[in-house]
């Protein structure tokens, strides 16, 4: 136990971990060229083990294609650094007035590491597009999809049964909660080309016998997953719907078969549902109305100078209604969510907000404050000591 504590609290471990972190950042940066920031972050920093592979685009790939370098991922390094710092405090450091500055700096650092973990685990990012004069009560994630069955039979509300696409494994059956139905995944493609059947072209044979695929002759060609920052993967699946009486048929669903198409319906006796695969949605107990979006450019150029969205929030509880102006670096914080001005579309008639839920958003500010304060105390003490020494000479 003593040995173990000694190992975990040693300064050598700190140095080794910091060096490994630098290597991780280096290789992560190399891979960012190929995978973009989002995927690289998942591969290298939100993981315990990362493996770097020799990039296809580099010279001599034919000889070096086998080259793989495994390295500890961000979670492992961050976790070990945290343990290192905390055990060092338990075993080696003594809290004295002289060291209070260092304690503050270290505590700030611990808080920063913890807040990173909290952010990774709990924060959720999605986007909410709103048209001028329109309202929206949901946001959607561009990198996550869901299979939904929507029951619209009630007069004042709709019931959404949502199944994350992670559960769509070919051949697997999933019970649709609170309904008599279950679904069986025939096939699932994280990205695909969807088009009309043309003579000559023979993509995979369609197993669909219901809905839009048969009515409009739509065919699917599986495609490579894209990690480009401004592209959406066309998640697509063939889903068989099962009732207690047997199969109801197989539908083609895809996130490009959206509101522009008539809903795909399935029915069992009196009841009916809409089936769709769509970008994962988050609904809120309030609506955001976009009153006005303005977009200023630098004179004579197309370079944006400022964007701002004037919004009105209509909450189910009208005492919480509020007006806000959202612009760059000036988000709206509301009900634990932060709305940033992210983008715009449709000739400046649609504003797109980045909606972030991050319960730990304040922690990095506090930790940086603590570290700054710690440095001030530590260096201040040395400074005054120095002044006193000089005065005595």
């Amino acid at each position: 136990m003593r040995q173990l504590l000694k190992f975990f609290s040693s300064l050598k471990l700190t140095v080794a971990l910091l060096s490994l972190s630098m290597a991780l950042i280096f290789f992560g940066t190399l891979d960012q060229v190929e995978y973009g920031i989002w995927h690289t972050q998942k591969l290298y920093f939100e993981s315990f083990l990362a493996v770097w592979a020799y990039p296809e685009a580099w010279a001599a790939y034919d000889q070096l294609f086998w080259l793989r370098i495994p390295m500890p991922g961000g979670y492992l390094l961050g976790g070990l650094l945290l343990i290192n710092l905390v055990t060092a405090h338990i075993t080696r450091f003594k809290l004295t007035l002289n060291k209070s500055g260092i304690f503050l700096i270290h505590f700030g650092l611990i808080l920063l590491l913890v807040s990173e973990l909290l952010t990774d685990v709990f924060s959720k990012e999605s986007q909410m597009p709103v048209d001028e004069g329109g309202r929206s009560n949901y946001s959607q994630e561009y990198r996550a999809n869901e299979l939904v069955l929507i029951d619209r039979s009630q007069a004042d509300f709709d019931t959404v049964h949502s199944i994350p696409v992670a559960m769509l494994k070919p051949g697997k059956t999933v019970i649709v909660p609170d309904s008599p139905l279950s679904i069986r995944t025939v096939s699932y493609y994280p990205n695909a080309q969807i088009g009309r059947a043309q003579q000559g072209a023979a993509p995979i044979k369609s197993p669909a016998d219901q809905g839009v695929a048969t009515k409009m002759g739509i065919v699917v060609t599986p495609a490579k997953v894209t990690y480009a920052e401004n592209a959406i993967n066309t998640a697509t699946a063939y889903i068989e719907v099962l009732s207690p009486q047997g199969s109801l048929g197989t539908w083609l669903v895809s996130n490009v078969i959206d509101d522009r198409f008539p809903p795909q319906l399935l029915s069992l006796g009196e009841q009916s549902w809409e089936i769709a695969l769509r970008l994962k949605r988050h609904y809120y107990p309030f609506e955001i109305e976009l009153i006005d979006f303005s977009h200023e450019k630098y004179p004579g150029t197309e370079i944006p100078f400022n964007f701002s969205s004037e919004v009105m929030v209509h909450h189910n509880d009208s005492t919480k209604n509020q007006k806000a102006l959202i612009y760059m670096n000036h988000p709206m914080r509301y009900e634990g969510l932060t709305f940033y001005q992210a983008s715009f579309a449709n000739d400046d008639r649609t504003s797109i907000f980045q909606v972030v839920r991050n319960p730990g958003w304040a922690l990095p500010y506090i930790s940086v404050l603590l570290m700054g304060l710690g440095m001030l105390v530590q260096f201040g003490m040395h400074f005054f000591k120095f002044l006193r020494k000089r005065a005595s000479v």
Partner: protein, 219 residues
Amino acid sequence: MTAKMQRFQKNLRQQSIFFLAGLIALSLTGCEKAQPVSYQIPKKEQVVQTPGPLSTPTVASTEAAPAMQVLPGMQQAANEAGEIGYTTPENWVEKPASGIRKANFIITSDTGSAEVTVLTFPGDVGGRLANINRWRGQIGLEDATAEDLPAYTQGYEIDGHRGLFIRLEGETQSILGALLPFHGNTWFFKMLGDSATVLNHETSMKQFLDSIKMEAHSH
């Protein structure tokens, strides 16, 4: 050191251990599990245009548009895009326009055959590079990068509007084509077929492009 100080340090140690254990527990339970859920939403569905994914506000609005796929719903848009006038070059056999095709020709020669199609879609349909790469894929070529574009494209005026002439040589099949952004739509003129036939017909393809008259409703 006073007894009080020692007790404080011991407390601190104990608390740190609990803190550490808590963190580890947190990191183990934190991973979200994929689970089906049901929930209710108010009846009124918001109708919002599907916009592009996140792009930083520093880019011009055209780049905020997502890489759009050609969908069956585009038929109506194609119908609304107006018509074109043209002269059919020699040896080209015109087929009736069908579906989203605005014009359709077949060329046959000793070396093989080729097909010429004219299509139009709203927007930029994913941009110049994406479309050229789509064509490259059709004749078995690797995707190209934006830097490579000048090697096989050249500016080309069609009915007084700035377009792009594209020449793609594949192993057995080749493409001669042109892109023309026009009144919010993109027009695609494409000759695809056996390499020898296609490359021999560059002059007649350019003749065809030169004969085109755009007729927009908004003129």
